[in-house]
Amino acid sequence: MAVEVRIPTILRQYTDGEKAVNGEGKTLDELFDDLESRHAGLRARLVDENGLRRFVNVYLNDEDVRFLGGLTTELKDGDSVTVLPAVAGG
């Protein structure tokens, strides 16, 4: 049940500089827990008490998970998850 997760520059401090890491989980939430076990601190940059952080975009393959099921989005073997911080400001 391996899923590739692409990590943006600003979060590579949690992945020893790796652009992509592998993880496991039946849902996005489980995947983030699994990543946290090897990349401590990463989960808090993606999720807060209300779910996915507003200015972090997470994509399952080609879709924004906000339009799927958010943290409950189901994953399958071979899926690719991409994390990109929003480019935004005032």
Binding site: T9, N57, P85, V87, A88, G89, G90
Partner: protein, 138 residues
């Protein structure tokens, strides 16, 4: 220091003027490690706002995939302020997520006056840097 060619600088200013009074935004990509802003990619402001900008989430994915395929990085991330100075707002600082990028701010508050400034925004710290305009990079 930001080194930028005159044509790209003009194109950023023109984009900002065209979208006024909404904020305009975009990226200038360049080869990894080059620090050369070569390929201007104007982005739509999904917020369509005079006080906020945000890249559309699907546009953002497409942009980063494309840069990845071409071994590029966002050398410049630019946006405009339409009623205030060309200096990063608190919101800009809180969302800045490209520590290696030059954050370019253009103000369109004065129709006849160009304000074009560049900053580094790293871990909440704003540092202005000089801008050198060249005709070409060689």
């Amino acid at each position: 220091m930001l080194t930028i060619d005159a044509a790209t600088r003009e194109a950023i200013i023109a984009h900002a003027r065209a979208d006024h009074p909404d904020e305009a935004c975009g990226v200038v990509a360049g080869p990894v490690g080059s620090d050369q802003p070569l390929r201007l990619i104007p982005m739509a402001n999904a917020a369509r706002s005079t006080t906020f900008y945000e890249f559309d989430s699907m546009d953002l994915l497409k942009l980063y995939r494309e840069m990845d395929d071409r071994d590029e990085v966002p050398v410049i991330v630019y946006h405009s302020h339409t009623a205030t100075e060309a200096y990063p707002s608190r919101t800009d600082v809180s969302y800045a997520s490209e520590p290696d990028a030059h954050y370019v701010l253009v103000s369109t508050r004065e129709p006849d006056e160009v304000e074009f400034r560049s900053f580094r925004i790293v871990e909440g710290e704003v540092t202005e840097e000089p801008v050198t305009v060249v005709t070409s990079y060689d």
